[in-house]
Symmetry: C2
Subunit: 510 residues, 2 copies
C-alpha cells in the first residue's frame, strides 16, 4: 500500500510553498490591523512578490514531473497498479494537489502578480471610497479587477458560465446551475416568511442593544466567550480591524479580529463568536498535514458553516444565554438590569430588513446574498457594467427587502469582496448557512444532551464533535462527500428553512 510517505518529495515542496503563502497571509493580516497608512503601496508589492513566487513554485516542472508519475493528467486520478494501490489519505492528497496544480497551471505567474497587486491597492481605495461615500472613486479599480477576473475565468475555463470558473475556486463543485435552484427554494419560502414576520403584531424591543457599552468590557466579554468555545489563545490572538476576519499561518497561529462600537452591543459580540467559529476550524486542522491539502480547510462554504453554526445556532440560542446572560448582566449591570433573558433573546433575534449584510438577521441575510449572486453573474457574464451597479443594487434592495439604501456606503460599497477580486465568494455564505443548520441538527441527534451542555456553558463538547467530524479531515473529502459523511445527505435548504420557520414562528407567534 502506498501512503503519504511515498509522496515525500512532493510534500516537501508543498511545505515550502505553504510557508511562502503563510508569510503572505501575515503581510495581509498586518495590512488590516497594524500597518501605518503610508505603507500600503510597498506592502502590495511585497505580497505580490510572495504570491507570484508561490505560484511559480506550484506550477514548476519539478512538481509537474512528480505528479505525472502518480496521476493521470487527463482525469486527475491517482494511477493504480495492480496490488499496489494508494491508501485514502494519499489518494485524496493527490486529487487535491492536482486540483490546485492544474488550476494554477492555467494562470500565468505574471497574471497572478498583477491580480495580487491590483487587489491590494483596490482594497485601500475601496476603504477610502466607502468612507467618503464616493462610488466613482472606486469605479476605476473595480473596472480593472472585474476585467482581470473575467480574464481569469477564461484562463480557467468553464462549460456553461464564466462565473462557474470563479465559483469553483471557493466551493469546489458549485456552479450557477447547482446554486440557482437552492436560491429559488430559499426565496420561495423566505420572502413569504419575512412578510408574515413583518405583518405580525409582535413588536420586539431591541433598544437596549444600543445603550452605551464600554468598549474594553465588550472586548473582554468577547474574549471570555472565545475561551469558553475552546479557541486557544496560546495559538491565537484577537485584534481589531475595520472588518472582522480570521486568518491562519499554521494551526499554532490562527488569528481572529473583531470591531467594537459603543452603541452596538451585538457587533463585537457576534463577530467574536462568528470569527471564533472560523478560528476553531483552522486551529482544529491536523498539524501533521500542514502544507498539504489535508491540512487545509475544504471549502469556504464549510468554513462559513462553522462560523454561522457558532454565531447563530449557538450564539443566538436560548440555551447559550441561559449560561452567558447572567455573566453579560454582571459585565454591564446598569444597562441590563431591567432586561430579562427572554427579552434579550428576542432582541438579538429581531427580524428587520436592513442595509448592511453583516448586521442582517438570519432571515433576511440570504436575501442579501441572493442580490449579490445575481449581480455577480451579470457582471462576469458581461450583461452589466460596473457603472450601473449603484442603480442595480438599489433596485434589487427595494425588490427583496423593500428598502433603499440612503447612500452607496451603505449599499453597493459596503463589502470588501469585490475590491479583493473575490467574485464567486458570496454564495458560499448562503451555503454556509445551510450547512450550519444541517450540521447542528446532526450534532443534536448524536448528542441528545447537547443543548443542556450549552446551557451549562460547556461548549467544548460541541467543539470536539466538530473537530472530529469536520476540522481534522482538511480536504480529505470533497465538501459534498463530507456533508454526506457527517449528515447522511448533500446540502439542502430544508433543515435551514425548517429551523427558521420554527424559530421565528415561535418568536413572532405566526
Amino acid at each position: 500500500m502506498k501512503t503519504i510517505a511515498t509522496l515525500e518529495p512532493l510534500t516537501t515542496r508543498l511545505l515550502e510553498i505553504q510557508r511562502i503563502n503563510s508569510a503572505a497571509s501575515l503581510l495581509s493580516w498586518d495590512q488590516e490591523t497594524y500597518m501605518p497608512a503610508g505603507g500600503g503601496e510597498a506592502r502590495a508589492e511585497q505580497i505580490a512578490v510572495l504570491q507570484g513566487l508561490a505560484h511559480q513554485k506550484l506550477v514548476s516542472p519539478e512538481i509537474e514531473q512528480l505528479l505525472s508519475q502518480w496521476i493521470d493528467p487527463a482525469t486527475g486520478r491517482a494511477l493504480e497498479q495492480p496490488g499496489d494501490g494508494w491508501d485514502e489519505p494519499a489518494r485524496s492528497l493527490l486529487r487535491e494537489v492536482w486540483r490546485d496544480f492544474s488550476r494554477a497551471k492555467k494562470l500565468p505567474s505574471q497574471f497572478v502578480m498583477t491580480l495580487s497587486r491590483e487587489t491590494s491597492l483596490a482594497q485601500q481605495v475601496w476603504a477610502e471610497a466607502r468612507k467618503q461615500d464616493k462610488f466613482a472613486m472606486f469605479l476605476p479599480n473595480l473596472r480593472t479587477i472585474l476585467s482581470l477576473k473575467r480574464e481569469e475565468a477564461q484562463y480557467l475555463g468553464y462549460k456553461e458560465s464564466p462565473y462557474d470558473a470563479l465559483l469553483d475556486v471557493y466551493e469546489p463543485g458549485s456552479t450557477v446551475a447547482s446554486l440557482r435552484p437552492l436560491f429559488a427554494q430559499l426565496k420561495a419560502r423566505l420572502v413569504p416568511l419575512l412578510k408574515r414576520v413583518m405583518d405580525s403584531t409582535v413588536r420586539i424591543d431591541d433598544s437596549m442593544l444600543r445603550y452605551s457599552y464600554d468598549q474594553a468590557r465588550q472586548l473582554e466579554f468577547g474574549r471570555l466567550v472565545l475561551i469558553a468555545m475552546g479557541y486557544d489563545f496560546e495559538r491565537g490572538r484577537l485584534d481589531l480591524s475595520a472588518h472582522p476576519f480570521t486568518t491562519s499561518f499554521h494551526p499554532t497561529d490562527v488569528r481572529v479580529t473583531t470591531r467594537v462600537f459603543e452603541h452596538e452591543l451585538q457587533s463585537c459580540l457576534f463577530s467574536c463568536i462568528h470569527e471564533g467559529g472560523h478560528g476553531l476550524y483552522d486551529q482544529g486542522l491536523d498539524q501533521r498535514y500542514y502544507g498539504t491539502p489535508l491540512g487545509d480547510s475544504v471549502s469556504l462554504g464549510i468554513h462559513e458553516s462553522q462560523s454561522r453554526l457558532w454565531e447563530n445556532c449557538v450564539g443566538r440560542s436560548r440555551a447559550f444565554w441561559r449560561f452567558f446572560y447572567p455573566i453579560l448582566q454582571q459585565t454591564f449591570p446598569h444597562q441590563l438590569r431591567g432586561v430579562d433573558r427572554e427579552q434579550f433573546y428576542a432582541a438579538i433575534n429581531r427580524v428587520q430588513p436592513s442595509f448592511i449584510r453583516v448586521e442582517a438577521d438570519e432571515l433576511t441575510y440570504n436575501l442579501h446574498i441572493m442580490l449579490r449572486f445575481e449581480i455577480e453573474q451579470d457582471l462576469i457574464e458581461g450583461r452589466t457594467q460596473p457603472d450601473e451597479l449603484p442603480g442595480m443594487w438599489n433596485r434589487k434592495m427595494e425588490e427583496y427587502l423593500a428598502i433603499t439604501p440612503p447612500k452607496d456606503a451603505d449599499g453597493v460599497l459596503q463589502d470588501v469582496h469585490w475590491s479583493l477580486g473575490s467574485f464567486g465568494y458570496f454564495p458560499t455564505y448562503t451555503l454556509g448557512n445551510l450547512y450550519s443548520v444541517q450540521f447542528f441538527e446532526q450534532a443534536k441527534r448524536e448528542m441528545p444532551h447537547l443543548e443542556d451542555e450549552i446551557a451549562a456553558g460547556r461548549l467544548m463538547v460541541l467543539r470536539r464533535w466538530l473537530e472530529q467530524k469536520i476540522h481534522r479531515w482538511g480536504r480529505m473529502f470533497t465538501p459534498d462527500h463530507l456533508a454526506q459523511r457527517v449528515t447522511g445527505s448533500s446540502v439542502s435548504p430544508e433543515p435551514f428553512l425548517a429551523y427558521l420557520e420554527k424559530k421565528y414562528g415561535e418568536l413572532y407567534q405566526l
Copy 2:
C-alpha cells in the same frame, strides 16, 4: 556616461529580493510583538524559507552573469571603457552589490536556512532561559549557533582572525586589528575617569526616576518626543516588545518598539528616543533606491550613531530638557513637582556601574561593550568554550566595573545578540557612540544656533541636517568615507572622550 538606468535588469532582480527580505522582517517584527506563544516553531520555518529564497535569488546565475558584464570579479571594481565610464551612484551600487553578492555566494543556501531556523528557535529558548535565569537551558542552542558562526567565518574567509569575517558583515572594513587600538584608547581614559567620578563627593539623587509613573502616560510622552524629532507616524508605528528595536520594510513603513516600566521613567523615555534615531535613519533613506544598496543603511555603526546621537547628545542634554521638562512635569505633576530641571538633568546623567548594558550611563557603556568584544574574540577564535561564559563574564565585570552580577539573567544572559547569531555586532555600539559625538560636534559647528533650536523644541533642523548629510546617501559611500565627508576625518575616540570629560567633569565637579 552609464547610470543606474543601465543596471535596470539587475535592480529589478534586487527589488524582488528586497521585497522577500522585507517580508521576512515583518515576520520577525510580528514574532517580537504580537505572535502568540504557540506560533514560534512554524514562524522559524517560515522565516527560514524566505531568507533561503532571498539568498538563492541573490547568488543565482542570472545575477552573476549580469555582474560579470560590469565588474571585475577579482577586484569588485566596475569595468570602465575609455570614454564610457559610470557615474558615482552606479559605481557605488555595483561596488556594494558585489560586496553582498560575493559574500552571499560563499554561503550555501542550506547553511543560510539552517542558521535562520536555529537562530529563530534559539531566540525563543534564550528568552525563556533568561526569564528562568538558567544559562544551562540556553547552552545547547548557544553551542549550535557558535559552531554555525565559526563555520560561517570559514566560508567567508579572513586574513588574521575568523572574527574579522563576522565583524565586516556589520561594519564594512572593521577588523580586530582596527578595533583593538580604539578600545585601548577608550579604556585608558574611561577607567580613570570612572574612578574620579566614583571618588567625587558629589552625590546625585535619581530616586525620582523610580517613583510610580502611569505607563500609558509614559508612552504618550514618548510619542510626543518622537513626533517632535520628526518621526513620521504615517510611515511608522510605536509598539511594545521585550527588547526595544527598530525595523523597516520600506521607507514608508519603519517601526520602532519600546518597553515601559511603572518604576523606571528613563526606560521608555530613552528607548523611544534611541529607537526614534534609528527610525529617522530608515525613514530618511531614498525611496527611489529601495531594493538597491543605495536605499539601505551603510553600517550598524553609523546606524547606532543616529540612535545614540538622539538619545545622548540630544536626549541627555540640558538644551533638550529646557523645552521638554515643563511638558514632562505637566504630564507627571505629582511626581515631579519638587524636582527642578537641573536636578532632573543630573539624575538622567548619573554615573553608576550597573549590570545591564542597555541601562548603562554613557561613561560605563563602552566598558560593557569591551567585555563582549573580548569574549566574542575568544569564542570565535576557539580559546573559550560556551560553558565557561558565566564565569568569564563575571570576572570581567569585576575587573572593569568592580561589580558582580547576582544572577546570569543580569549577566551573561542579558543580551539577545548571541541567540540571533549576531557575533561581531557589539563593537558597532561603541563605534556608534564615537560617531555620534563626532557627527553632533560637526552639526554644532555648521549650525551655531543648534542648541538654541533644540532648547526651543525645534528638533527638525537637526533631523534635516542628518538626513542631508547621512540618511539619504544609503550605501553610496563606505562608512569611513562618509565620516570623512561629513566631519573631515575618520572615526576617532577623541571627540567622544572630550565630550564625556567635559560633561562629567562639570557634573561631578572633577
